[in-house]
Symmetry: C2
DNA sequence: TAGATATTTAGAAAATTGTCTAAATATCTA
DNA sequence: TAGATATTTAGACAATTTTCTAAATATCTA
């Protein structure tokens, strides 16, 4: 649960997530949306990947990035626990 | 939305939130749960407060901290948008 | 195979963050 | 009012993060 929270702390990375919500994109297409070098975007993508928030797949010269919704589900569960929407949803404490 | 995400990026602060989920606590009580000085905990509390995730109220010598669920609700909405659990929860565009 | 395109890796500099000690502020009580 | 307790503020320092440029890797195509 630590890596996803760290990954979401950066506004650039949250914007990347919003872009990927619409459709899968190549690293280059993602970079076009930012005023930042491609290596920097590549680094952000790497952090999102380590956190398992996105996954990548090479197709020829391009690498396509896409959202990985499972970890987002886990994060939602974490928040539900906080506001006590839980107690029955699952059964896991702490974490 | 930036301050809450930043605030949640630190494990100490997430643990504080988990403690406050159970009941309101004084700064000193919170500090007892950590292997860290009181000024450090005070600093973490300040960041949580700036993000509006917690609120504080002085009662005599003590300052009690408590969870502020509204921002957590907003965060949950943000996550719902990501996994498309939305479309009707807020604005119902086409579809 | 050479050159073009897409992307990542490496390494460094600057900015931000987390933690500490020392000192300040606020409140209570004798 | 003086001393004790609870907490924060200030300032410094180390660790982490963000960003850059330069170079490396991977793939395609002529």
């Amino acid at each position: 649960m630590n890596l996803p929270f760290k990954a979401l702390a950066d506004p650039t990375r949250r914007k990347i997530i919003m872009l990927l919500k619409e459709r899968d994109l190549t690293a280059g297409e993602i970079a076009e949306h930012f005023n930042m070098t491609k290596p920097s975007i590549s680094h952000h993508l790497s952090i999102l990947k380590q956190a398992d928030l996105v996954s990548d797949e090479r197709k020829g010269q391009n690498i396509y990035y896409s959202l990985n919704t499972t970890v987002f589900q886990e994060l939602i569960n974490w928040f539900f626990e906080i506001i006590d929407y839980n107690e029955g949803v699952k059964n896991n404490e702490d974490k």
